[in-house]
Every structure is written in structure tokens, then in C-alpha cells.
């Protein structure tokens, strides 16, 4: 199961100019590549979530720079980059009563798109998605 999990880095940031620049600057100088990225905003603050090639290093660098950082296990789900691709995944999760806390997706150079999801029951999600023939991208493939 471990190899199917992706360690997502989450950062608490105040919603004001320059904060993103500060965070990305830290990652840049540490030579960390961002593979997926999203900002969720909630008024005065936001939570930045990202999948990077070296999550432990990213965590350390941002923590030392004084940021509030956490690591969260998420799943990287491969889906067909065609109409109905997301629907297929949602159907498997819905049918198995698995709730999606949040998700973000991006297209890749291949014919597949990648969906990052945080769910309430991660081990069950791995089982049912695997059972439905869905490919999960592990941490090794993100690097």
C-alpha cells in the first residue's frame, strides 16, 4: 500500500501578496521540482498543496524558513484524458461510499490525466480503485 501513497506537502499561508513568491523561492533554491500544485483560499488565509519530487526535503526547507507545513497522504489517480474520465473515477468512489475531501487534476503529455485526491478512507480507496482497474501513480513515478 505504501508505494501507492503520495506525500503531499501542505502549507499554511496568509492571503497576501508575496507569500507564494517566498514559498516558491525556497523550493527553487533547494532544487525541488513541483509536479502538481493548488491553492485553496479561505478569506484571510489559504492552504497551498503540492506534490513535489522530494517531499521530505521540501518539508524541511519550508519548516526551517518558518512556515507551518504538514504532510498528507493523497492518491495519484491516472484517468483517461477524454470525456467521462473523471466520471469513471467518481463512480467507483461513490459506489463504495468513499468521500473526497478535496481534489485537483492536471493533464499530462500522455493520453492520461492525473487526479490528486484526498479521501476519508485511503486504504479502502486503494482497494476499490485497484479492483476497478484504475492505475494509481505512486511516489516513485512522481519523481
Amino acid at each position: 500500500m505504501e508505494d501507492k501513497l503520495i506525500k503531499q506537502i501542505s502549507i499554511f499561508a496568509e492571503n497576501k501578496p508575496g507569500r507564494l513568491e517566498e514559498i516558491t523561492g525556497q523550493l527553487k533554491s533547494a532544487g525541488i521540482n513541483i509536479r502538481a500544485f493548488t491553492i485553496a483560499e479561505a478569506g484571510d488565509f489559504g492552504v497551498l498543496r503540492m506534490v513535489v519530487d522530494k517531499p521530505d526535503k521540501a518539508h524541511g526547507v519550508l519548516h526551517d524558513a518558518g512556515f507551518t507545513v504538514s504532510e498528507t497522504d493523497v492518491l495519484g489517480v491516472e484517468m483517461s484524458d477524454s470525456p467521462g474520465g473523471l466520471h469513471d473515477i467518481a463512480t467507483v468512489l461513490g459506489a463504495n461510499n468513499i468521500n473526497v475531501d478535496y481534489a485537483y487534476a492536471f493533464a499530462t503529455a500522455t493520453e492520461n490525466a492525473l487526479l490528486i485526491i484526498r479521501v476519508d478512507d485511503i486504504s479502502n480507496a486503494i482497494t476499490v480503485l485497484g479492483g476497478a482497474g484504475v492505475v494509481l501513480i505512486g511516489i516513485e513515478e512522481v519523481k
Binding site: 499554511f12 485553496a40 479561505a42 488565509f45 518558518g66 504538514s70 484526498r118
Partner: protein, 434 residues
């Protein structure tokens, strides 16, 4: 380690103590009337003469003095001795108005140090202890006050003053500080810096207690400091006008002992000036019974407290005052409701997710006051789910509303954003132009 600095005085039966106070009060009014044109005029205007003061109860016949009197007579218009008898001056920073100057005779310095020697002894600090004095040295009374008290009990003083935090921590380890005296907010900052340096106060230092004051702090803050650092946190009280830091709690942490042979305290209704009975909350009024250079008669310090005249479990018979959570001039009025920063701190610190650094911001939008409480989000509580963070905001907002009856906006901010203070923390930013 002796239990008392001066057992005879500290454990004196209450009735005898009152007799001592009565004699000293009678001498005092005669002394100020004869030595200070200011007091003579004040007494004459109030139509009271030293002969009218025959018992402790007569103190209420005397007029109050206030900080403005010290400002009006700046620098030394209220002094009762010529300059050649003054061995020390201190002065207030004047942040809230014109500065004030306080002078001390040789005996005044001795009485001041004695008061602290009793307090330090009551928390188990004495010969063999190393006291790191992290209050500012200079015109501010904190540093030198604690310094002299420390030397009097035979402990070693390290005059670090405030600031240069990493050096403070090195000295704490290298010289084996067993006690530290500073503002509670500065100690929190020291604790933060020790963590960054990979030092644990509990495991890597000999620190056993802290003597914290010069700003209001709450019982909840005490609990946190003690839990996080393994030391005992004691409250100290005093203000430059009556000498400086003077009084501490004892190991029972059940009120601050006010030495009755040196000071006479009352609590009054701040609106009417009428004395209030023991146990009622009001404004503290202090009469200095033994000061020579600048005696103060019924001085309105502005702190709100409650007097407890019951002898303490430690055996000391002198009256105690409850921890001071606010001053009349710290109070902010938000939408017509009186808010004391200490009250807010008590609420915030009772919520485990809220870190020790916080700030209140009061603004005015149109005709309406707006209160914003900023709290820092630390990694211990950070959830990457927005809904959890929103829940925290709501929880804090609800707790404040329950206690203060004010709806405030709660703002979560990044750690380190709220300014750290080396001296008195600025917890309230009032941006209203009233």
C-alpha cells in the same frame, strides 16, 4: 534555605501589624506635610491636617494622588528630601504622556530591596541560586530592582537585561541560571528560540522558576509556561512610582503578598473613589509607609484587583492581592463593552490549539468598532483541510463571545507574524482615532 527572610515581620499577628501601620501612617502624614509644599497644599485644600489621622480608618480622609500629579510637578516637585539625599533616580519612558521621575534615598533603596528579598525567599530563591535578570536595566526599574533584591538574598545576579536572546540562553546554560526574571512574553520568546537552537529549558538548563511581571498575564498563560518548560512561574508586581517591582507570590501561588509594614493598600470603586470591602474588585490604591524621597499618599496605581486579608497557607500574615489582569488605562471599550486584554488572554489560552502569541486589533468602520483577534497557526494544530481551520476560527470566536459578549473576527496568521517583544508585549493595537 530559610523559609522567611524576616520571620518576625512576615508572620506578625494581624492586629500587631495594623498597629505598626497606624504608627507609620501617622508619622508619614506629619512627614509629608512638613517636607513637601505639594502635600501641604493638597492637605490644606482638602481641609485635612496630620492631626486628623489618628487611626488606620482615617486614611480615607486623605486626598488621592495620581500619575498626573507626578507629571505636573516634573521632575522633582513632589520630593520630600533635598537632592543631596537622593542616591538614585529612575524615570518612566513617557509612552503614555509626559515622563515621571522617581527618586530614592539610601534607605528607600534598602526598603525596596528588602521587599524583594522577602519575595525571593518566599519562592525558594536564595544563596546558591543564580538569577538571570532579563528586565531592562536603565531608567526602567525592573532590572536594577531585581538585581538589588537578588544580591540582598545572597544569590548571584546575571544582569543580562532584555534582548540578545541567544546569548541569554548560552549564559543560562553556562552559568546554570536557576531563576529568570523578565516579562512573561519575553520568556515565551526565549522558549521559542531555545527550541530553534535545539535546547530544552526543561532538560538542558537548571532553571527552576521564573519571576514574571511588568505586563498583565493570565492564569492560563502560567499553566502553559509551566507545562512547556517545567519551571514554576511566579507573578511579580510593582510600579515605578512606588519604587519598582516589589511584591511576589509565594510558592502557593495564591495571591501577591503586599508587605504591610511598608505599604498600606486599599481597593476603591474607580468611579466614586469610595473604599470597597475585602473581596470586592476595584482599583488598587497604595500609600507608601516608609519611603523618604518620594512618599505617595493614596496613590491610584490604576490596576484592578481584589484584596484578600486572610493569612496565607505559607504562614505570612500580610494582605494579598489577586493576580492583576487589567489596568484601568489598559481597558479598551469596544462597542460600549469594557474589555481587558487579560480577560481575552484567559479565553484564548484555555483553547489548546491557540499558541501563546496573539494580538487584538480594534478598528472603526464608520460608526462601528471592529475587534480582530489574530492567532498564529502552529504545526501542532495545522490541518491541511480548510474546514478544520474554519472550525478553529469559529471555536475561538465563540469562546470570546461567551466570555466578553462581543463578536470579534478571528484571523489565523502565520507563526512569527505577531511581533515578539523583549519587554512589555503590545497585545492591543487600537487603530481608532477617537
Amino acid at each position: 534555605m530559610p523559609e522567611y527572610w524576616d520571620p518576625l515581620i512576615e508572620r506578625m499577628p494581624v492586629e500587631e501589624l495594623k498597629k505598626v501601620q497606624e504608627d507609620k501612617l501617622k508619622q508619614l502624614v506629619r512627614y509629608v506635610y512638613d517636607h513637601s509644599p505639594f502635600y501641604r497644599k493638597r492637605f490644606d485644600e482638602a481641609e485635612v491636617s496630620p492631626d486628623d489621622i489618628q487611626s488606620l480608618a482615617d486614611v480615607k480622609k486623605l486626598p488621592f494622588t495620581v500619575k498626573q500629579d507626578l507629571r505636573d510637578t516634573y521632575p522633582t516637585g513632589m520630593f520630600c528630601v533635598p537632592q543631596k539625599q537622593v542616591v538614585r533616580y529612575h524615570a518612566s519612558s513617557g509612552t503614555t504622556g509626559k515622563p515621571t521621575v522617581v527618586g530614592y534615598t539610601e534607605n528607600d533603596v534598602k526598603e525596596w530591596s528588602t521587599s524583594l528579598a522577602r519575595g525571593l525567599t518566599s519562592i525558594g530563591v536564595g544563596r546558591g541560586d543564580v538569577v538571570q535578570v532579563g528586565y531592562g536595566y536603565g531608567l526602567f526599574t525592573g532590572g536594577l530592582g531585581l538585581h538589588y533584591g537578588t544580591e540582598m538574598v545572597g544569590a548571584s545576579a546575571i544582569p543580562t537585561s532584555s534582548g540578545n536572546t541567544e546569548r541569554q540562553i548560552e549564559l543560562m546554560q553556562d552559568l546554570g541560571s536557576t531563576a529568570i526574571a523578565c516579562t512573561p512574553s519575553y520568556f515565551l520568546h526565549i522558549n521559542e528560540v531555545t527550541k530553534k537552537m535545539g535546547v530544552s529549558i526543561e532538560n538542558d538548563t537548571k532553571l527552576k522558576c521564573g519571576i514574571f511581571g511588568a505586563e498583565p498575564w493570565s492564569e492560563e498563560m502560567r499553566r502553559r509556561i509551566e507545562e512547556q518548560t517545567g519551571i514554576k512561574a511566579y507573578d511579580i508586581f510593582g510600579t515605578s512610582e512606588i519604587s519598582g517591582p516589589l511584591f511576589t507570590e509565594c510558592t502557593y501561588q495564591d495571591g501577591i503578598h503586599i508587605w504591610a509594614d511598608q505599604f498600606l493598600i486599599e481597593v476603591i470603586d474607580p468611579m466614586t473613589g469610595e473604599p470597597l470591602p475585602d473581596g470586592e474588585r476595584g482599583e488598587l490604591v497604595v500609600t507608601t509607609l516608609v519611603k523618604e524621597a518620594l512618599p505617595l499618599i493614596r496613590y491610584r496605581i490604576g490596576d484592578l484587583t481584589i484584596i484578600n486579608s486572610e493569612p496565607c497557607k505559607c504562614g505570612r500574615t500580610h494582605p494579598r492581592i489577586m493576580r492583576i489582569l487589567g489596568r484601568t488605562d489598559d481597558m479598551i471599550i469596544v462597542r460600549g463593552i469594557n474589555v481587558f486584554p487579560g480577560q481575552v488572554e484567559d479565553v484564548l489560552m484555555s483553547i489548546p490549539e491557540v499558541a501563546e502569541h496573539y494580538q487584538l486589533i480594534v478598528e472603526r468602520e464608520g460608526e462601528l468598532d471592529r475587534l480582530t483577534v489574530q492567532v498564529e497557526v502552529t504545526e501542532n494544530v495545522f490541518s491541511d483541510k480548510i474546514s478544520d481551520l474554519m472550525k478553529l476560527e469559529k471555536k475561538v470566536g465563540k469562546a470570546l463571545h461567551t466570555v466578553l459578549n462581543i463578536t470579534g473576527k478571528v484571523e489565523l496568521v502565520e507563526p512569527g507574524t505577531i511581533p515578539r517583544s523583549m519587554g512589555k508585549a503590545q497585545r492591543v493595537i487600537d487603530k481608532r482615532n477617537i
